[in-house]
Symmetry: C2
Subunit: 710 residues, 2 copies
């Protein structure tokens, strides 16, 4: 599994059979023949339907066995009950690729689930390249192959071009095609993957990204079926320098349920998707318009931005102010022009304009486009500027001149230049796009486009993380976990969990498990006062809630009293709990508390997390997570992204905390998560982070284990 | 000050003079005559310019004194150096209203600032209704009065209608006009207020809101010059049931600087703007497209939504999933249909569709629009649904039928219905709008429109806060503050500040100011161990940083040691600080720490705030603020909006905290803030909030005072 497939027979077939072909164009089986003809498919087309001799003048065959050659791909548009037979016929005839339009599989529930399982088995057995079922099909317009029945492709003569779109929703792909068509952008691949029993999102992403004619791969995703394959596909795209833009839907519990009934359930937490996308260099968009805008942006070949300093040139002071707000809110910065730039612009700016960033040239574009070009060129050439937005509001004159000025400015170097053209001459956007300049109708959209270019620049500049820390220590710790799982334990209490951590090279606070009050006092004397006492039970996850924690004990009498009190409370709280004893723990002072841990995501597997600890954890979602493996750079980025970072960096007279020690713990947990598949969840809460140079220690820990079914 | 003006002479003049009129239409003085003529102004127009006998066939006068009658309004388009004279001429002639286009005032800095001050004085002295300077003027198209020189109004024949737009940016107003025109929406008022030396944003807002022909007042705002007037204007709009929609720009430090150079500086923190808008029932939008969309929404008379449960009907399962995500992210909820609704829809839904929310009717709109209408009607009638979005992607057929179906569904009751029409027949949006149905081209935009209707419903349903708590206690406390200010103190240390609080009825922790170590011990014995010792100095704001705080002292010896240590450290930290002594304080345990306080905003005056205390305050911006006066309901809303609310509501086995006591403190601070103008800032940090019924106590406090210039 997890191997990317070569989709050439599916996406660049030399000849195509159509099972279930019909002359009725209202039915999906009636569409492939006219669509293939309309887009001038260069190979042979073989309609297959025993009821017809010919369809639209093309000879029709009774069954696949009769075909004069073995086609590369078969479109299957027969009723659900006959799909398995049709697929078997194709397999028997040696057809390597199939596209199954038919619905009525897992998305229907009930019998459909069983039918889909049978189909999946057949596909796996023969290694067929099957797209679908429950999909609108595949198109590769650069090679004039349109086996996608989207209404849009039928209404409009959609141009071939550099956009690849992969969609887990059929109609959504049609909307994208319509949008590209409206903007004058050409489409290469338009693939609706449906229920993905064979070919999936990642296969198409990788195949399209490797095609030299493609400039951007975008997608609509409800869920991933094979996360490792998606990671590999993202790597392929990165290796080819192709931006990948994904709209992920089904984020919340409610919408995920809707997605399940749409193309079949796919699990996994949205937070993990976000993390994985960021780790793997996939640009995630938050809404549909942004998706369309980035498709435009990258398909026009906009260069990545070398940095986040934005220059703005506008005919409206108000829009300048608005844009400066948004630059900050989008995590970008307003460039500070060099004095030379300011002076040069000032030479030719109107009296009531502004030569500062944002440059306000007021009404100059009406009378003097050359001066507007002058301003833009100076901004583009300023070494303090990384990317430029030019805004025109209600500009009715001089479109051609302005396009030419901006084209020349953009050609001066490799910095991106985008235009916002708002409610002016309707010819504006077309003219800019035709000149290769991305053009949007709202400054926020234009700035989001620039943000994507900044992100893409960062992705390109980021080295892939090296190998994670040596797993030697992880192996020993993992063996301990495996042993516990083998003994059919469902969880490990504090002492056992800390033993695993110690084995994995994660420092833990000193503690002794005491069986009675005398032992507790002896332990306290050994550890040194003050100590904390905590109930140790694999069945009590929330010790504080159970009254099972007493802190700051500094005499033997206090330890004895606390011991008895905890036992009484814990028994009252959970009468059936297995109580291993009372843990006597070293108290650590002067530390910043974090939580660090491992979770196992249904879609992405082991995930490592770090977050604010103590009271903070309850009231703010200050958690960063990443899919394992997590290397040093990524672990540093995790800590750097925490909202509670100021507590670690020595703000307000505090000592700086040992961040390197936290990074080390994260890396070790990553290695442990990968080495110990039986480890379901691990929580270190809190990890006591000492001042710089003094390390970090796990003060409490809990492990839950995967329970294998018998 | 702060009184709203009757703008009838400015916005509904019976006759108009144009000072600086010229036959050159490229100059702003050349525009009013053709614009007034084009929009068929019904009254007399008097060009004034000694250089011409007539302009465009209309008799021209040498000066205002020559006019045959006193016009209601004069447009002033003379050079900046001559504006003062022109205004004086108008005043002398008894002209009540003026619109000054001319730039070159405060926005230019330097001499312009002095010129503007002189103009402002002249206007104030005579009570003229002056709009501008540095503005594009005023239009009231319902009365065929167009004295706004926006290019848009010149190019297009903009229809009269229910939209009022007030703008502190001239070009921005033109963009809005162009957008309304493109959507087929008519404009009533289009007013560019410029530098606002006389008439301001609030005046126009109130006047337009009171006009029966207006359905929505929207605005672009860089800053408010008179917050109290804005509050009154918002009340007028509320009394007339008119939604007010504002885009506030200049939020960050950088963009505020840009705004300052645009129409002259206006101060005030953006956070306070947000709070004031919410308090006063103003809908704030976050971007330009949303502004335009809400203008469309309200101008079409969309009803407010009775609640936040959204029903979605779509031809794309994918869009359904996306929309369900966004419903949650926008703070709305997906409606759960009644079984009757589900069953009724199921009767006529296609096989692969879904009768649940989101309803997915797949391709049914192509063949069977009546069934689509059936689904929508059932959703609209479901008692569990408050508002409805209908989505059509790439829908090319049956526009008229679908418009009719949705029109009928929307007429069934008072629930809002909006449409998203994405990349289909371009006639769709026009047809829906013509039928009074708001129509957007992106589902997120449609859902944001529904959110605005939910907000507007809440605004309409919210009673205005009653009078704040009796200010008797505040008066006494304020007297103490005034006394301190009179003594020219700049700040009050902990003991003095707590005395003010106690006077204002805010409980404080017990504490005694000790002059030496012996006194400290005596105080501790009296208060009861454990105690905290803190340095008390008006010059040391950050006591902890100064080493001036020691907590948890439980013996006389410990108190003595702590006293001496604190004195040594504080003297080292701030050798020149006035040290009032060492405060000996009661220790409170089991409390939740908040911060509560007063700030004085440059634009809005006294502001009351509450936020998370302790470590939380540093790492998360968990602060709610409101402009005083703050009544009980608003104070409760403040606490309810805190992220740290779970700490107060007894989550995870904690006792519930005394929220009522916090609300009481907020109300008392509001009263104090209003009663004590010399109080610049007050910080209670922390406010110790005890378990329910046990109150809240200020454990530390600091007051800074306004220093009057001599």
């Amino acid at each position: 599994m997890s191997e990317l497939r070569d989709l050439t027979p599916l996406l660049k077939p030399r000849s195509i059979a159509i099972l279930g072909a019909t002359p009725d164009h209202r039915r999906v089986g009636g569409r492939p023949l006219p669509f293939l003809t309309k887009y001038a498919f260069p190979g042979a087309i073989y309609p297959v339907n025993p009821k017809h001799q010919a369809i639209d003048g093309v000879r029709c065959y009774a069954n696949v066995g009769e075909l004069p050659e073995t086609p590369d791909m078969a479109i299957i548009a027969v009723p659900a009950a006959r799909v398995l037979d049709a697929v078997r016929d194709c397999q028997d005839a040696g057809i390597p690729a199939m596209t199954v339009y038919t619905s009525g599989f897992a998305e229907m529930g009930g019998e459909g689930v069983a039918l889909e399982r049978a189909l999946k088995d057949m596909v796996a057995e023969k290694g067929s390249l099957l797209c679908g079922p429950n999909c609108q099909g595949v198109a590769n317009l650069n090679d004039r192959m349109c086996a996608n029945f989207s209404t849009t492709l039928g209404y409009d003569d959609v141009a071939a071009g550099p956009v690849a779109f992969v969609s887990q929703s059929g109609l959504f792909a049609g909307i994208v095609a319509a949008d590209c068509h409206a903007r004058g952008l050409g489409i290469g691949y338009l693939v609706s993957t449906g229920n993905e029993v064979g070919v999936d999102f990642a296969d198409v992403l990788a195949y399209a990204a490797a095609d030299d004619r493609i400039r951007v791969v975008a997608g609509y995703m409800e869920g991933v079926r094979d996360a490792e394959k998606l990671r590999k596909a993202a790597l392929v795209a990165r290796a080819h320098g192709k931006p990948v833009v994904i709209l992920k839907v089904g984020r919340g519990a409610e919408s995920a349920a809707a997605a399940a009934s749409h193309t079949g359930a796919m699990a996994g937490s949205y937070e993990v998707y976000r993390a994985a996308f960021r780790q793997w260099g996939i640009i995630e968009v938050d809404d549909i318009t942004e998706l369309f805008d980035l498709v435009e942006l990258f398909s026009l070949g906009a260069p990545s931005s070398p940095g986040d300093r934005i220059g703005i040139v506008t005919n409206s002071g108000g829009i300048g102010v608005f844009s400066a707000d948004k630059v900050g809110e989008l995590g970008l910065r307003m460039a500070v022009f060099s004095p030379e730039t300011r002076d040069a612009i000032a030479e030719r700016i109107p009296e009531f304009g502004s030569p500062q960033n944002p440059v306000d040239f007021t009404l100059q574009a009406f009378s003097d486009p050359a001066s507007v070009g002058w301003h833009i060129r100076h901004v583009v050439l300023d070494p303090n500027v990384d990317a430029v937005m030019v805004f025109f509001g209600v500009q009715m004159l001089n479109v051609a001149e302005l396009v030419e000025e901006i084209k020349q400015a953009a050609a001066l170097n490799d910095k991106p230049v985008v235009v916002c053209w708002m409610r002016g001459d309707p010819e504006g956007p077309k003219a800019f796009r035709a000149a290769g300049i991305p053009c949007f109708d709202d400054p926020l959209r234009a700035l989001k486009a620039l943000r994507a270019l900044v992100t893409q620049g960062r992705i390109a500049a980021t080295a892939l993380d090296g190998e994670p820390v040596s797993a030697t220590s992880a192996t020993a710790a993992a063996a301990r976990v495996a042993e516990a799982a083998g003994a059919r334990l469902t969880s490990l209490g504090e002492q056992a969990a800390k033993a695993v951590l110690a084995e994995a090279g994660v420092p833990v606070t000193r503690s002794v498990l005491a069986g009675d009050a005398d032992a507790a006092v002896a332990a306290a004397e050994k550890i040194g006062y003050p100590v904390a006492l905590k109930v140790d039970s694999p069945d009590i996850a929330h010790k504080t809630e159970a009254g099972g924690v007493v802190l700051g004990l500094d005499t033997a009498a206090a330890v004895r009293r606390a011991h008895d009190r905890i036992m009484t409370r814990a028994r009252a709280y959970a009468p059936d709990a297995r109580i291993e004893g009372i843990g006597v723990h070293e108290m650590v002072s002067g530390a910043v508390e974090l939580i660090v841990g491992i979770k196992r995501d249904d879609a992405f597997g082991p995930v490592v997390l770090v977050g604010a600890g103590g009271t903070l954890v309850e009231v703010m979602k200050d958690v960063e997570l990443r899919v394992a493996p997590v290397g040093r750079a990524e672990a540093e980025a995790m800590v750097g992204a925490l909202k509670c970072l100021p507590l670690l960096t020595g703000a307000r007279g505090r000592p700086r905390a040992d961040i390197a020690a936290v990074v080390d713990v994260i890396e070790r947990l990553s290695a442990l998560a990968l080495a110990a598949p039986a480890l379901k969840e691990l929580d270190i809460n809190p990890l006591m982070v000492m001042p710089e140079g003094e390390g970090a220690r796990a003060a409490d820990a809990l492990i839950t284990l995967v329970v294998e079914e018998e």
